[in-house]
Structures are given as structure tokens and as C-alpha cells.
């Protein structure tokens, strides 16, 4: 078995196994171990790809190159740390009576299936399979959003299902159009013309521009819905706030990345055949709009998880903007930002989960005095938010700084809205954060059992990336940048 097969099959087998044993105390451990094996295999695969270059699997179903291998590793890593967090968290939820045995089985099984579908989407070489895996990622998480069966949770899950379903259907139409254009020019072997390697290698330059532009619009709307771009974002805060917290961590930290990955892959094809910047400009527009609007919405939130999901929209908008801008520096910054945002945001959601268990509510007005009741949670939330707001010396600062530099180089005027957006988002986060952490704790607030290890690991990694990017990671990003933008950052 190749390393790729181990990476893909482990979560699938784990998911099937957990259907039967997910409710036992053992289930949480099996979940963690499965994720750990997946992460180990993906890391080994990453080192292999790093040493020997891109790999095409037998039958050409899967393709691993510098761009997706690091996302595979990141997905497996955050999946693992969230699983470590989820084990005691879900046990606590069972004790509080919010989750029954059947639902716990569903939860554990779907957790693994979700990881599987994301890894499949990342490693698929066939654009159709990419779409199928993206849709499967929605389907596996939709019942997890409604896990608590409160009216709000069911409403959130319904919205998530319908909006993402409609959105992703547009992406399927876009995929059909790409296939149509490719079949028209390349013709030869029908089943080959949907393979990304074939499209990007030989044929991209020859595809019909009119059809490809049309296809990109549909693909942008489709995958953009899953990225959470404004105005297609309205499912995102609902789904992220109503589901169990480990789910919010992986949705925010990983699923959005995978959707953006799909969009960037398609953009690489479109750019090659259009010879214009249409795709880039569209992505810049949507990205900047999302960045600004989500920053403003941060000020109006009453629910702590909703607030941080708007922060996710804001950061996804920034990344979309950067990938749209193209250019080596912007692409490098966006890749780095994808990594540090995933790590930071999942750490924040883990902390938020503990904080809302501590306070017994997700309402910002009722979460008070975290620092005094349980300093570990207070510090975790404070440092996480400082990191996500883009303060030095954390990694988010570096990536945002690079993106700002890239903007000044190619679109100087857009640096102004970008800076304003940073400021607005910062204010929005901290006006809510300050009383939650330093306020007067309500009488009788007791500390909860919290596992802050994943948070600490993530934040230390983000700090490390901010202080010095390790050499192998940097050359990894450079390989991916070269692949996407065709040049190295100077």
C-alpha cells in the first residue's frame, strides 16, 4: 500500500468502525488514534513528495504535488488535535445530557468520514471527483450541525444543507462546462479530459475562452459558497455556531481551506486558457467584499462562536483576495495565511468551547471573568485572539504583512481598504473580548476540566511561524508558489 492509500483509507475504515463502537468510552480514543495514524501517514507522504516531486497514483485518480500535500498534512494535523480535544469535550456533553449514545456514534463516525472526504477532495486528480468529495464534505457534516436537536441547530443545519447544496450544484455545472470545453479540444480519450493533470499540462492553453469564463463564474459561485464569500456566506455563522465545538474547529479551520483550494486549482486552469486576469479580478472583488463586510459584522455579534465564524469569513476573504491578485509574493502570503489561520482558528474554537462550557452559555454578555475563574482558558482566548487579529510576533502578522506588501506593489490603492479592514476587525474582536476575559465573574462560576494541550501546540506553532519560518516549510511554500503563480517570490 502506498502512503497515499493509507492516508485516505485510515479515516474511512475508522469511520466504519466507529459506527459500531463510537458510543463506548473507547470510541473517543479510536477517533484520536485513527487521526494520529492518518497524520503520520500524511507526514511521511509529504516528506516523500518533498524529496521526489509530484506523484501521480496508478490509474491517475490521485495527484499529489507541493500545493495539496501541505494542505493534506495540515488537515490531518488539525483533525488530530481537534480529535484530542473532542474526546473529553463530548464526554462532558454526554454527562450534561445533550448527546445520546446513538448521536455520539453518529458524531464519531461522521467526524472520520468528514476527514476522509476532505482528504479525498485535496488529493483527487479528477475535477468531478473533487466535486463529489466537496459535496460529501457537506453531507457528512450536516447532521453534526443539528446534533443537539435544538430548533436553532436544526434551522442552522437546514440552511447549511440547502445553501451549500444549491451553491455546490453551480460548481457541478461549471465542472460540466470545463469538461465540455476540454472534450471539444482534446477529444482523444473521454475519461482523461476531466483529469487536472491532463487539463493543466497539455490542454489548458487551447480551451475556448468564452466557455471557460462562463465555467469559472459558476465554479466561483459554487465553491465560493463553501469558502463563505459574501454575499453567499449566510450559512456559515449559523452552522459554525450551532454544532458541537470540535466540529466548528474543523469546519472553520479546514473545510473552508479545502473549498478555497478547489477554487485556486480551477483558477490555475482558467488563467492558462484565458490570457486575461478575469478570474483573478473576480476573486479579488469577492474577497475584498467578504473581508470588509465580515469585519463590520464582527461588531454586531452576541454569540461568541458566531463572532469567530465571522472572523473566519474575513480571513477567507483576505486569502481569496490574495490568490486573486496572483503574483508570487501574494500567493506565498496566502499559502502561509491558510496555514496560520487554520492553526489559530481551530485553537480559538477549542478555547471557546471550554469557555462556553465554563459559563454555560455562548452569549457574549454572559461570559465574564474567564481570567479569574480559569486562567488557562482566559490566556488561551486572549493569546489566540491577539494572534488572529494579526499582532506580531505571531504568524498571522507575517502573512498579513506579506499580503499588504504585495498589494502595495501591484494595487497600491487597495492597501487603504485593506488597512481599514484590519482596524475594523481588530476593534470588533476586542470590544467583545475584553469584558469576557477581564470582567467580573458571575458568582458561583466554577472551573471546568479543560485540555489546553491542542491550543498550546497550535499557538506555539503559530508563534514559531511568526518568529522564523523553518527552512523546509519555506521551500515547500516556494514550490507551491512556483506551481500556482509560475514564479518565485523575491
Amino acid at each position: 500500500m502506498t502512503l497515499l492509500e493509507i492516508t485516505l483509507l485510515t479515516p474511512l475504515v475508522g469511520g466504519l468502525l466507529l459506527v459500531f463502537i463510537g458510543h463506548r468510552p473507547l470510541g473517543g480514543w479510536v477517533n484520536v488514534i485513527t487521526c494520529a495514524v492518518t497524520f503520520g501517514a500524511s507526514l511521511a507522504m509529504a516528506l516523500d513528495v518533498f524529496a521526489h516531486g509530484p506523484q501521480l497514483s496508478g490509474g491517475r485518480m490521485f495527484y499529489i504535488d507541493a500545493f495539496n500535500v501541505y494542505l493534506v498534512t495540515l488537515t490531518a494535523f488539525v483533525g488530530m488535535t481537534s480529535a484530542i480535544f473532542s474526546r473529553p469535550y463530548m464526554r462532558h456533553e454526554v454527562e450534561r445530557g445533550r448527546v445520546t449514545d446513538v448521536r455520539l456514534r453518529l458524531y464519531h463516525s461522521m467526524y472520520q468520514c468528514f476527514i476522509f472526504s476532505m482528504l479525498l477532495a485535496l488529493s483527487a486528480n479528477n475535477l468531478g471527483i473533487l466535486w463529489v468529495a466537496m459535496e460529501a464534505a457537506t453531507l457528512t457534516t450536516v447532521l453534526l450541525v443539528s446534533l443537539y436537536r435544538t430548533p436553532e441547530a436544526i434551522e442552522a443545519a437546514w440552511k447549511y444543507f440547502i445553501l451549500c447544496g444549491v451553491g455546490i450544484a453551480q460548481a457541478l455545472f461549471g465542472t460540466v462546462l470545463v469538461y465540455f470545453a476540454a472534450e471539444n479540444k482534446l477529444g482523444a480519450d473521454r475519461d482523461d479530459t476531466m483529469l487536472w493533470t491532463v487539463l493543466h499540462g497539455a490542454g489548458a492553453g487551447t480551451l475556448d475562452p468564452a466557455v471557460i469564463s462562463l465555467a469559472f463564474v459558476f465554479l466561483l459561485v459554487g465553491y465560493g459558497t463553501k469558502v463563505g464569500l459574501v454575499p453567499l456566506h449566510s450559512w456559515l455563522p449559523d452552522a459554525h455556531s450551532e454544532g458541537p465545538t470540535p466540529m466548528s474547529a474543523v469546519l472553520s479551520g479546514l473545510l473552508l481551506n479545502v473549498a478555497l483550494y478547489a477554487l485556486v486549482r480551477v483558477k490555475m486552469l482558467v488563467d492558462a486558457s484565458l490570457q486575461t486576469n478575469l478570474a483573478g479580478h473576480l476573486m479579488m472583488g469577492f474577497g475584498l467584499l467578504s473581508f470588509l463586510v465580515a469585519g463590520l459584522f464582527l461588531h454586531r455579534q452576541h454569540d461568541i462562536k458566531r463572532m469567530y465564524s465571522y472572523s473566519s469569513i474575513e480571513h477567507m476573504g483576505l486569502m481569496t483576495f490574495a490568490f486573486g491578485m496572483g503574483g508570487p509574493l501574494a500567493t506565498y502570503g496566502a499559502l502561509l495565511h491558510m496555514t496560520v489561520h487554520s492553526l489559530t482558528k481551530s485553537a480559538i474554537f477549542v478555547t471557546v468551547g471550554h469557555a462556553s462550557q465554563l459559563a454555560g452559555t455562548q452569549r457574549i454578555e454572559h461570559i465574564r471573568g474567564l481570567m479569574r475563574t480559569q486562567p488557562a482558558i482566559g490566556w488561551g482566548l486572549l493569546i489566540g485572539t491577539i494572534a488572529i487579529a494579526g499582532f506580531p510576533p505571531f504568524g498571522v502578522f507575517i502573512s498579513e504583512f506579506l499580503l499588504l506588501m504585495a498589494t502595495m506593489q501591484s494595487w497600491p490603492w487597495l492597501a487603504i481598504p485593506l488597512l481599514v479592514g484590519f482596524g475594523v476587525a481588530f476593534a470588533g474582536l476586542f470590544r467583545n473580548l475584553q469584558p469576557m476575559i477581564f470582567g467580573e465573574p458571575p458568582p458561583g462560576q466554577q472551573p471546568v476540566e479543560a485540555n489546553m494541550l491542542p491550543v498550546a501546540v497550535h499557538l506555539v506553532l503559530v508563534l514559531w511561524l511568526g518568529v522564523s519560518i523553518p527552512g523546509f516549510l519555506s521551500s515547500w511554500f516556494e514550490q507551491a508558489t512556483l506551481l500556482i503563480s509560475g514564479a518565485l517570490p523575491r
Binding site: 479528477n126 436553532e152 443545519a157 447544496g165 444549491v166 460540466v176 465540455f180 476531466m194 475556448d208
Partner: protein, 242 residues
């Protein structure tokens, strides 16, 4: 090209494609639950007929598999599931009120014209016998979306969703003679899982809201008014009837 110059089978494809679009319009105007489900089944059947005809004309045996999948999923399984659920939830005779039916149908007609406009670059490039029906397939998809936007019951939204899926499948068949088989199978699997999940949701919605009227799904919104929920996040789900 004159229609009369086409072969008999190609003309039949155009005829059945038009009938598929016709069922889309029927669904747009149909307010009762059961006839809506039956119309959806009819649309699936007509689509399967088109697929078989295209498979025969173009000599693509893969498409027979796609047609069989369509019959199993969209003609038998999903309508049966919806029928069983609507009987079980006792809403088979429910009818919803459409505010401006004529306006809605006109909007549908507008979407058809728009689809012809969208399809122009595709048709220009295509040399397939079925290129005349590409615009129709886009129209079926867009009308499915319109159905989802204007209807307020969960059943009608599901039908709209599946009808959109029909339109997408249709467009793949007529513009490229279907996608590679593995992709078709993957898409069919997703549709099947989606249909089952919709069934689960009907029951969850019914239990929590006592209705499948999605207008009642209005608790989560961006407003400064404090939301009623979340204060008692630890409380067990209500589950009871309002």
C-alpha cells in the same frame, strides 16, 4: 439547421427535452404535495428517456447506465421516499399558497430566455446532435433554483433541489454525452445520501417546529435584538410541540 432535416431520433430528443422543461413549469405552479412529487417522478422518467435516446443516437453505452441510475434514483427511490414521508407526517393533502402564480410562471419563462443567452457560446462550439437542447437543460436547472427560492415548505424545496440536480445531469448528457462513469456514480451516491438526509430532516423539523414550513426557521439572524435562545445552552432540547 432545419428541424425537419434532423433524424427522427434527434427530433424525438428535442421533443422529450421540451417535455422535461414542461414538467419543470408544472412543478413551479403545483401547490399540492402529492402531485408535486408525482410530477418530479415524471420529470425523472422523461429525463431517462432522453438519456436512452441520446445513448442510442450517439452510441455511448455508458449513458445506458446513467439512464438506469436516473430511473432507480429519481423515478423510484426518491419519490417513494418523499411519498412515504409525507404520508407518515400526514401532510399529503397539504397545499401552500403561492402569492403571484402568474408572475412566477413569467419569471420561469424569463429564465428560459436567459438560458438561451447563456448557452450561446456553448452551442456555438458544440458539434453534437443534442446541442439544441443545452439551453433547455440550463433552464431546468435555473427553474429548480427558482422553485427553491419561492417555496416555503421543506418538501417543495427538496423537490426544487432534486430538480436542479436533474437539470445538471441533463446538461451533462446533452453537452458532453455524460460525464465519466466514475463521476456519474459519485454524483448519484451524493444525491442518494442527500435524499436520505432530507428525510431525516423532515422528521427533525416536524419534531422541533411542528411544521415543515421553512418560514418558521427564523431564529438565527443578524439583529441587535437579543436572541431568545442560547441562554440555557445546557437545557435539553425542547422536542415538545409549540
Amino acid at each position: 439547421m432545419e428541424l425537419a432535416e434532423l433524424s427522427l431520433f434527434s427530433q424525438a430528443i428535442i421533443l422529450f427535452a421540451a417535455l422535461v422543461l414542461f414538467t419543470s413549469f408544472i412543478m413551479l405552479g403545483q401547490t399540492r404535495t402529492l402531485p408535486l412529487i408525482f410530477t418530479f417522478a415524471w420529470q425523472g422518467l422523461l429525463l431517462a428517456v432522453v438519456t436512452v435516446l441520446v445513448a442510442y443516437v450517439s452510441d455511448h453505452p455508458d449513458l445506458y447506465v446513467s439512464a438506469a441510475l436516473t430511473v432507480v434514483l429519481k423515478v423510484v427511490l426518491i419519490p417513494w421516499l418523499l411519498y412515504r414521508l409525507s404520508v407518515r407526517l400526514n401532510m399529503q393533502y397539504d397545499a401552500e399558497v403561492i402569492l403571484h402564480p402568474s408572475l412566477l410562471l413569467l419569471a420561469g419563462a424569463g429564465l428560459v430566455i436567459f438560458s438561451y443567452y447563456v448557452a450561446l457560446p456553448i452551442v456555438r462550439l458544440s458539434g453534437l446532435a443534442t446541442r439544441n437542447t443545452i439551453a433547455v437543460s440550463i433552464a431546468v436547472e435555473l427553474i429548480g433554483m427558482l422553485l427553491m427560492c419561492v417555496r416555503r415548505t421543506a418538501v417543495a424545496q427538496v423537490i426544487g433541489f432534486m430538480s436542479m440536480e436533474n437539470g445538471l445531469f441533463f446538461s451533462a448528457v446533452v453537452s458532453t454525452y455524460g460525464m465519466p462513469l466514475i463521476v456519474e456514480l459519485g454524483v448519484a451516491f451524493d444525491v442518494l445520501v442527500a435524499a436520505i438526509l432530507f428525510g431525516v430532516f423532515f422528521i427533525q423539523l416536524r419534531d422541533s417546529f411542528d411544521s415543515l414550513d421553512v418560514v418558521r426557521l427564523n431564529r438565527l439572524s443578524e439583529s441587535d435584538a437579543p436572541m431568545p435562545s442560547h441562554d440555557e445552552a445546557g437545557a435539553p432540547p425542547p422536542g415538545g410541540r409549540a
